[in-house]
Symmetry: D2
Subunit: 263 residues, 4 copies
Amino acid sequence: MTGKTTGKTSSIRSDIAYSTPDRIVVRGKDLPNEILGHMNLGDFAYFQLTGKTATPEQSRVFNALLITLVEHGITPSAIAARMTYAGAPESLQAAVAAGLCGLGTVFVGTTEGSARMLYEAFDSAGDNPDLQQLAEKTVAAYRGRKQIIPGLGHPLHKPIDPRTPRLFQIAEDNGMSGKYIALMKLIGAEAERASGKVLPINATGALGAICCEFGFPWKIVRGFGVMARAIGLVGHILEESETPMAHEIWHDIEARASAHLRG
Amino acid sequence: MTGKTTGKTSSIRSDIAYSTPDRIVVRGKDLPNEILGHMNLGDFAYFQLTGKTATPEQSRVFNALLITLVEHGITPSAIAARMTYAGAPESLQAAVAAGLCGLGTVFVGTTEGSARMLYEAFDSAGDNPDLQQLAEKTVAAYRGRKQIIPGLGHPLHKPIDPRTPRLFQIAEDNGMSGKYIALMKLIGAEAERASGKVLPINATGALGAICCEFGFPWKIVRGFGVMARAIGLVGHILEESETPMAHEIWHDIEARASAHLRG
Amino acid sequence: MTGKTTGKTSSIRSDIAYSTPDRIVVRGKDLPNEILGHMNLGDFAYFQLTGKTATPEQSRVFNALLITLVEHGITPSAIAARMTYAGAPESLQAAVAAGLCGLGTVFVGTTEGSARMLYEAFDSAGDNPDLQQLAEKTVAAYRGRKQIIPGLGHPLHKPIDPRTPRLFQIAEDNGMSGKYIALMKLIGAEAERASGKVLPINATGALGAICCEFGFPWKIVRGFGVMARAIGLVGHILEESETPMAHEIWHDIEARASAHLRG
Amino acid sequence: MTGKTTGKTSSIRSDIAYSTPDRIVVRGKDLPNEILGHMNLGDFAYFQLTGKTATPEQSRVFNALLITLVEHGITPSAIAARMTYAGAPESLQAAVAAGLCGLGTVFVGTTEGSARMLYEAFDSAGDNPDLQQLAEKTVAAYRGRKQIIPGLGHPLHKPIDPRTPRLFQIAEDNGMSGKYIALMKLIGAEAERASGKVLPINATGALGAICCEFGFPWKIVRGFGVMARAIGLVGHILEESETPMAHEIWHDIEARASAHLRG
């Protein structure tokens, strides 16, 4: 309201949404009349991020992508949210925020790593590269740097991660199984061959490849895990409010952690 | 893995999800085979929270409820997320978390307030209460305590909040417009009458009433705003990564805030 | 830099600090030359908050106040920080933030509750009130509302919280044991008498009273716990980076929580 | 309390603190009797992190290190905290947490970068390396990778950052100016020579070098900025509670950001 800007061109500009007394417009559509009742949440997330209406095929794949990341049981993220809720039940939003803070390079954020790996592989190659050669080159480069290949291997889900074939099937059924998914599969096979280990493509590897098929910048890919997990964490906090476990975890861990000091 | 508990009954128990090497089960359904490709994100959120599959009617209303809360333009929450991303672009999840931390009693959390008010109104009344009398009693009680009635009034959206009639319409079209929405409407009318002011039922008032129609505990209602806004904030961070405004906000505000000290 | 304001008086104004190319001034003092090397961290915290230099007496009491809140072993807050660090070790700041999010009405924030109770007791009384009567009235009011009296009782530290007599002694030794500490002691005694239970004044009760002696607004009192605990959490994260416990907690709790689902 | 572990060695172990009904022990010292009243906050932070009592010299340098990082005016971090407090004033801890979330690789976290650079420089060299050669090699390596050298340059504080000479003086006065500070100075001079630009050693460069003189692992160095800034942010929230700026920032930025959409 006081927004008189100076003469110079301002970079304070957002194209996402605006409001007037009788309208709320998001990405050019009237929220009450053109969006509410016409979209599901996953499609609206797609619209919020891209400004485009998802096709039915994109809708199916994008909703599956997000749903995969909502809930994984009692994870470190869920424990952090529950411990936080125990101390500040009046600040539910802070408990969700605490649970999200750990979605970094070790958990969930690995989706970002595989998307980046796939984009960079194609960026470094010419037009119409040989995918098998690209997979071999990529695996060799990671192994040469003694770096873990993102999106491969899982401590529990062996010899295959049950989400991966299903996600790839959904992508294929909807005409979205392109060169990125193809390369990811070849990288998985080549990594198993080169290492002699069982290295299934895990869910974050499958999702990273699907994000590339959509064309999402790798820097935002972690955001899908963050928005999805926010939903899951509200579920955990609801359960914690009804059948809490935080206090027992606390007393148990504290007793074990300090037993040697207590003598 | 070390999880041998002592003889006593443990309260460390979650009914949400579990995994085995070849299965991931959420609320009793196999995630890859029974959920992925069969649900949209809003329906899965409903399933995660309640353990029940939404009916088509519930699906339409619940998706509309969540979508309403995703995006409101350049809010304090979006500014906090953008300022955070500017300092730690490698920690996208922390930028979303920062943006969520402020969804409290002033913004978004007011949905919680109206749900609580409606539940408590019916709790304090006998069976089949006269709704008009209940509205009058509720408004009088808030006015007596000089408390703001949650869910009424909006600084911009006057004389009506355009989201409210649309949300009520969607609820009605899907057979979910019951006594809570009826009471909320009567409270709005009574508050306008008693105060002599224009006090439209705002979106958080409408959503609070709809949450009551679903039967969600009021303590978790704030969580819908939190999960929805997480989606919106990823959209803002994506835009900030492409056309940033944080640095200009910072330099502008800093210069204005300290102008009097600099002399 | 673009900070041309409009004609109207702006409320964007901060009196805390400003910088020029060769100066950084905090609360009117030159940071490099008048502060660094001349103050300890606790005294600078006092200066940052009040704009005043602590007297030697205030310095001793304020440093003791903050130190009391730094470290309490493996608390829910420390567990949340450690779980977060395990997922995002590259975002140490987000792990501290996660640990702080739960310092609310249940833990640490109770300091706020006792400060508020003491201020409101005196606000409701006339000049020179009889402290014993004020204590009885306060206890009766809380008991009448079936509300827990903030700052009393401790699950472990019984029959006395060892921090409390020491904090009160430090306040007395430094001439800062006034009417608020006197009232807190009387409230503790009266609550034990009225309830027939052992209800020691705990550390947050003692600290709340000391905050009142300083004259800090009760709304900011929680902030002392927050700033202190940030220090403690960095200590826990340093230890977690060297001898981690997060993964074992995770696997242990997950196994116990889902044992009944796995059958 | 239920903490019976299985036979296997548990990694759930913390050496920081423990409590019994009548004792609270931190790093082997009795908190009420051996710490409260005997240490200032900075010294206790040192003790919490290292388990050692700071010498008077270490105390002066460590307190100066932390104080430098407390307050820098209206930073992105302070704006994020203030915007958060405006939405959730009942969750002060969440506002501080939001402000901390952005202390990453762009702001504050650069202290980590310079500490790491200095440690790695010495790790890559033999015993008694020639410091001038090491500086040249380090600068050449960063320039070869087109990477910014951490700890050099400042948008405002030119041609020198006024904190740097003061911090180095305090280190020297207290016998803590060793090989890391020496190398940092040579890197600064060499970077200016090689680039032809004015590149003052900024505060994070000076602090990174001082952290190395203390021997702190580089992974924890960011933590000093985090704990210090938590203090500063409480100061900003206190001011925001008394003379708020968040709403004016919000309305101003929103109006400017969406002016082009409104037409």
